[in-house]
Structures are given as C-alpha cells and as structure tokens.
Symmetry: C2
Subunit: 164 residues, 2 copies
Amino acid sequence: MAVKERMDYIKKQLHSQSYKLTPQREATVEVLLENEEDHLSAEDVYLLVKDKAPEIGLATVYRTLELLNELEIVDKINFGDGVSRYDLRKEGANHSHHHLVCIQCGDVSEIEEDLLGEVEVKVEREWQFKIKDHRLTFHGVCSKCQREKDSTNEEVGRQTVDQL
Amino acid sequence: MAVKERMDYIKKQLHSQSYKLTPQREATVEVLLENEEDHLSAEDVYLLVKDKAPEIGLATVYRTLELLNELEIVDKINFGDGVSRYDLRKEGANHSHHHLVCIQCGDVSEIEEDLLGEVEVKVEREWQFKIKDHRLTFHGVCSKCQREKDSTNEEVGRQTVDQL
DNA sequence: ATACTAAACGATAATCATTATCGTTTTCAT
DNA sequence: ATGAAAACGATAATGATTATCGTTTAGTAT
C-alpha cells in the first residue's frame, strides 16, 4: 500500500529538518492519510487523533498541522466558513488541486487535473511573477442541486458566496 | 466622474431591495470608493469611516460590509493573514479579478484580465457544475523581490504560504 | 545503557476577529 | 406628522487560534 510509503516519506522529511518524530505527530499524519478527501479542520483532526492517542492536546494538533504546512506536506485552506482546513498534498503533484464549492448545499468537491498550465505561463511572462503555488476555487451550483432545482421548480434561497 | 455614478448605482441597489440608506452606509461606501486598490480590512474601513462620521461603531461597519457582500457590491476575500478584506467590484466585470501574493514581501497586486474563460467552459462541461464565481490567487515571488535576491545573493527566509 | 539538552508536550489562559444582544434612534412609507 | 421596521452604538459573547509555562521526551553524545 502507498500509505506506508507516504508515511515513511513524511517521517524522512521531519528527520531531514531535525524535527523530532513523536507519537503525536505520527498519529496526526495517520489521521490525515486515512481521511484524505475530507478537508478536515483542526478540531476534526483533534477528535480523530484522540481515538488513537487519547492524551493528545488540541494545541499539539495545531502545532503539528502548522509544521506540516511549513514542510509543504499539507495545504492550509479556507472555504470561508470560519475555520482553516488541512489537505494532505498528493505525492508529486505539488499544486494542482482545485475546489468546487456549491453555494446551495455547501458540498466541496475536488478537481485533481492541472487546469492552469497555460495560464501560469502567461502570468509569469506578463507580470514577471515567479509562481510557487496557487489557489483556485469555483463557487456555483453542483450537478445534484441543479437537478433538484429542475424537479422541484422551487426557488432556493441563495447562500452567500464569501471568502475563498 | 464615475465615482458619483457608482455611488448612485449602489444607493439604487440598496433601495431596490428595501434596505435603508443611512449616513453610515453612505460613508462606508465612500471610503470603499476612495480606497479601491487597498484590500481594506473591516478595521481599516472603520478607522477611515470615523474621519467622515466619528460616531460610527465597528459593528455597523461589519454589518454594512456584510450587506454589501450579499448585494455583490463588494467581494469578501482572505489572504491568510487572519482578517477578511473587502474589495469593491468593478462595474460590469463580475468576477475577473485575481491576486498575486508575494511570499517574500507580502505585497498583493491585482490582475484585472479574465484568465479563466476557457478553463470555466471546461469545468462546467466536464463536472456539470454551474459556475457563479471564482477565486484565483497565485503565491510566488514578485518582480521586485526577484531583483533584490539577484543583487544581494542573500537567501531570504521563506515565509509560509498559508490560507486562501 | 545513561545522561543530557533542546524540542515537544498538555493544560489552559490570552488574543483577536467577528457576531450577537439590547435598548435607543432613525428612516421612510403611510 | 406618525408609527413600525430597520438600523444604530456600545459592548458582551463567541470561537478559532496562539502564547505561556512547567513537565516530559526524543535523539545524541558520553
């Protein structure tokens, strides 16, 4: 399974920067590996890690997630609901990972495809800006909500599209 | 000047939804019109509005910005520095407004051009997602910091690229 | 294996942006 | 002019995140 290899890779990353490998950090990474599609908040991670290591503190979870973000192992993202969420980066792919946020049901789905290749070339050329990373999120109506609206013909109150 | 016309448009928008036009709201919109390029936070707006209307309260500024966001007159955005920022939408253009965030000096500049036309067509077709809006931000090194790095040859500590 | 030291920990207090509350004031249609 | 709904200012409450601090631990050198 790739899970073990990815865990080993992350451990190596920690060691190579002379960070210590603690059971708390290991348990946190495990939780992230087991819930990859879920856009977990720090609180979410905390509750899940407590199953594996009940003595862990919330502050440690925040510290670990911050560390993993600095090591570019996770992306810290914000969908405008007041909490930061943490996504494990796919191996290799370092930044082609976009989101579709439905403004009616609130669901978030992902696009793995790299959509911005040509766009990045253009931006780098025309604005002399060396791109290291990007965030792209679309707000709109998902296919399920489109179908429901068609069938009920009932106008659904439009939710606010706020922060990215 | 276009400022007056935009103000009138915004007043009309408020009235058409039977919101009341108060001096506080007018002063807030004035401040936004006079500081369009500045990505103001609620606190920033509050301090600027106090010059025009010293009796205004911070809560009113938050309420007004929230209202303007719902009316799609401003965009509420998040650059990962812990505060929401409010950008007046350009007239007509309803969502082609992107950001370049420098991970060294922290400067934010804007791209007005619509970069995503073809990308949106593709996303709508392939994911059956009806796009209403999007947020696109690039993180990287601005041209000024690239030049400075070249000349000093000194390694600059990498800042965290976090939310948004 | 033991001892050491910096790093990491848990508990919890502090911070800070944002939101809710509430009694008063104001807008605007009647 | 009047009255009701909306908006206001002041400020308390909330809630996510960060800082503090005394204790514990990982990893290295003895």
